[in-house]
């Protein structure tokens, strides 16, 4: 159904950031970009100390990385879109009213936590149906939900012995058993406000709108936010920047999605996957069958079956090239394979029949063995038990050359399953189909953030790994159906997760300089400062203007201080995608482990870095006192080290953090 749209709605749908703010941002973007290019080009052209290339080159590479990061940030901000008030929702209880399913996804969260969210979901104003998607299939959840009159959805039997695909699978399963035109997705800990649908459904008056994402905000976090849980910059200017390029993306919770868009995506992906599987099977069939023929050695019957299979594949190839429907091609293929099965089984049975005849001749009761034929034939021709299935090559082809995606629980998988974070991949594909998204920056749900360092690190690692899986599997820069702006916006998010490598350089270079006098930059002179200082200041100014009063320091600290997590995310996702190794993924636990001792072991690399920075300061102090350190280089690096230490100090606070309850107690 298309919704009624009036002039006011159209105005609100097209509303963005006030012109004056955009103008200021654009001026600063141009200045910061120019200063950045001016600095980094000079660094490459005139100031790399090639004598110490082994640190000089990594440093200039790291600086180039940061420049690209800053350019991508500026490019996003260029079109920042702060939407303000949303269009009114389609009137409830009227002909315009739309149907909405609210999905609460859970796996192992405590039952009271799930039910707290479920109760709030029931209380959402706009008419809707609430569902708990319990992937743990727990009796307690079912009982509690029943008491409230809420439906529980668990996996259908199709999922037994097939890949479960975690949360994406949970959502895909539920999408096929519900019927609402729109779906609000909530994590188990995200308690929705009653107006969440009234404030988001109006955006769907744009008939191409597929997704409205709202912020994830956490209520159990003290103002000092020692674990960096709130993401005011991301759930603010960064998503708003992406929104300006129609690239605001799904973050897994607190978002409303249009079912039609998801199902359309599911269908297109089904077609892509089946085509890919069939074409790959045909491409590789010749080699596969040839190898099987070699393995068969003297067995003439196996060889015959393989030759027949080869002919059937060849026929399928011709039919595909001719443009026949894949369903028909594969149907005829499967029939052909079945015919070989019957032939071979027939041969087996002929032999058996001879044996039986001999036995019967010995027996006094001629009827004793009749009837065995039919049973044996039925057994031998059933796909799984037939001798043809025993020829591995043929059964592999038979399962690849089909349209039922038998290896998956469902043929239609709307939520992407290529990544442990299904959300980003799904929205990228939706954008690829020409759908639109909106970021509505109003807090409409209150969540619970991890309360200890270990859980927090696990969660950040999972997000980063998921993003990197998408980077390696469906690189946004290669998606032809995305606009250049959309590609760069998705790429920008992925680019930021590579920061672990430059971070390593940013802490090593000053230590080497202070402790050993290794200087990676040839000229710490006026030339350097005249280029570096404007770059630094204009970048800070850009951040400050775009952030518009939101706190940014905590985020900046963690993007450097969690460098081991970012490095691990890149290496583990790489091994996962290209070498098929498991990620070592775990579901984030939202409950706190009480009474534990501070976990210094979790941050060993950071502690080593901090120790090295402190030692470097001491050593340079001595070197200056004995007159061994000359020039301005040591002083530049001392400032740099002090900055690094300030950044890393958050790690100490995070380890010592005892949760929000302890923080409140200290204050009172």
């Amino acid at each position: 159904m298309t919704m009624q749209v009036n002039r006011r709605d159209l105005r609100q749908l097209s509303r963005g950031t006030p012109v004056r703010r955009v103008a200021v941002i654009r001026i600063v973007v141009v200045l910061a970009a120019s200063a950045g290019l001016n600095y980094v080009i000079w660094r490459w052209a005139a100031s790399v100390n090639w004598e110490s290339w082994w640190i000089a080159v990594p440093l200039v590479l790291a600086e180039t990385y940061s420049l690209i990061d800053s350019l991508l940030f500026g490019l996003g901000a260029w079109r920042i879109r702060e939407r303000g008030d949303p269009p009114a929702p389609p009137a409830a209880h009227s002909a315009d009213a739309v149907t909405v399913d609210v999905f609460i996804t859970t796996f192992n969260e405590p039952v009271d936590l799930v039910m707290r969210t479920a109760q709030a979901a029931l209380a959402i104003d706009y008419p809707h149906t609430t569902w708990i998607l319990d992937d743990g299939d727990r009796l307690e959840v079912r009982d509690a939900a029943e008491a409230l009159g809420i439906g529980v959805i668990t996996r259908s039997t199709d999922w037994a012995d097939r890949p479960r695909h975690a949360k994406a699978g949970n959502l895909n399963n539920a999408l096929l058993t519900t019927a609402g035109e729109f779906v609000l997705v909530l994590d188990a800990d995200q308690v929705p406000h009653p107006n969440i649908l009234d404030r988001t459904l109006g955006y769907f008056k744009d008939p191409r709108m597929a997704l409205v994402q709202t912020p994830q905000w956490f209520e159990n976090v003290p103002a000092s936010d020692p674990l960096g849980s709130q993401a005011p910059l991301f759930y603010g200017p960064i998503q708003q920047s992406k929104d300006g390029w129609n690239a605001a993306f799904f973050c897994g919770s607190n978002a409303v999605l249009r079912r039609e868009a998801l199902m359309q995506l599911g269908i297109s992906r089904y077609v892509v996957d089946v085509e890919r599987s069939v074409h790959r099977a045909i491409r590789t069939s010749r080699r596969l069958l040839a190898r099987a023929r070699e393995d068969a050695q003297g067995d003439r019957r196996v060889k015959l079956a393989l030759r027949q299979a080869g002919e059937i594949v060849e026929r399928a190839r011709v039919e595909l090239e001719r443009g026949d429907g894949i369903s028909d091609v594969t149907y005829r293929f499967q029939r052909g394979i079945d015919a070989i099965a019957v032939d071979r089984a027939g041969a087996d049975i002929a032999m058996m029949r001879d044996d039986l005849r001999e036995l019967a001749a010995l027996s006094t009761d001629a009827d004793e063995f009749s009837g065995i034929d039919d049973a044996a034939l039925a057994l031998l021709t059933a796909r799984d038990t037939s001798p043809v299935a025993a020829i591995e090559a043929i059964s592999m082809l038979a399962s690849a050359l089909d349209v039922d995606r038998g290896e998956e629980a469902q043929a239609i998988m709307p939520m992407a399953t290529i990544s442990v974070t299904e959300d980003m991949a799904t929205s990228m594909r939706l954008h690829g189909l020409g759908w639109r998204s909106a970021y509505h920056g109003e807090i409409l749900a209150s969540g619970l953030a991890p309360e200890d360092l270990e859980t927090m690190i696990g969660q950040r690692l999972r997000w980063a790994q998921g993003t990197m899986q998408v980077f390696f599997r469906e690189n946004p820069m290669l998606q032809r159906r995305l606009s250049v702006g959309q590609r760069l916006m998705y790429f920008g998010t992925m680019w930021s997760y590579f920061s672990g490598f430059p971070a390593l350089v940013y802490v090593t270079a000053p230590v080497l300089c202070l402790a050993f006098g290794v200087i990676p930059v040839t000229a710490y002179s006026l030339d350097f400062f005249a280029r570096f200082i404007p770059f630094l200041l204009l970048n800070q100014l850009l951040f400050w203007v775009v952030a518009a009063g939101r706190p940014t320091w905590r985020g900046a600290q963690y993007s450097l201080a969690l460098f081991p997590v970012w490095i691990e995310s890149v290496t583990s996702a790489f091994k996962n995608v290209f070498l098929g190794q498991p990620l070592g993924f775990r579901v984030t636990s939202k409950t706190r482990l009480d009474g534990g001792r501070p976990r210094w072991d979790l941050v060993r690399p950071q502690l080593i870095v901090m120790a090295a920075l402190v030692v470097a300061l001491i050593v340079v102090g001595i070197r200056i006192l004995v007159g061994q350190a000359e020039g301005i280089a040591p002083y530049v690096n001392i400032v740099w080290v002090i900055y690094d230490l300030a950044v890393f100090s958050i790690i100490i606070r995070a380890v010592l953090y005892r949760g929000p309850a302890a923080t409140t107690k200290e204050k009172s």
Partner: protein
């Protein structure tokens, strides 16, 4: 609303969903196909000549019916889609997999 007209044909069964085949009505189609397969039918022909509108959930139902038909050793074929339905099939590229036949007779022939 959709009603599904069911008629026997030589070698198969013809299902003709009339009206709108959408998220609301798709379960009826799935249930009807499941019933016919359980009753022993193997060739399921979906006649789309009286289907005015299909959405992606409707297409999803066709795919899931194809899957059940195949898994029981049978097949599912589409026949004579109306203009809107043909357009949706093209737009999602589903016609590359399920290529519709012009008539029920063509579909029965293979």
């Amino acid at each position: 609303m959709t009603s599904i007209d069911v008629r026997e044909a030589d070698g198969g069964v013809v299902l003709a969903p009339s009206g709108r085949l959408t998220v609301v009505t798709a379960p009826t189609l799935r249930a009807t196909v499941a019933e016919r397969i359980a009753a022993g039918d193997r060739l399921i022909i979906v006649d789309l000549s009286v289907t005015e509108f299909v959405d992606s959930s409707g297409l999803g139902a066709l795919v899931s019916c194809l899957k059940s038909a195949r898994q029981s050793g049978g097949d599912l074929r589409l026949v004579a889609p109306t203009e809107q339905v043909a357009m949706v099939l093209r737009m999602t590229n589903l016609d590359r997999i399920l290529q519709p036949r012009p008539s029920v007779d063509d579909a029965l022939r293979g």
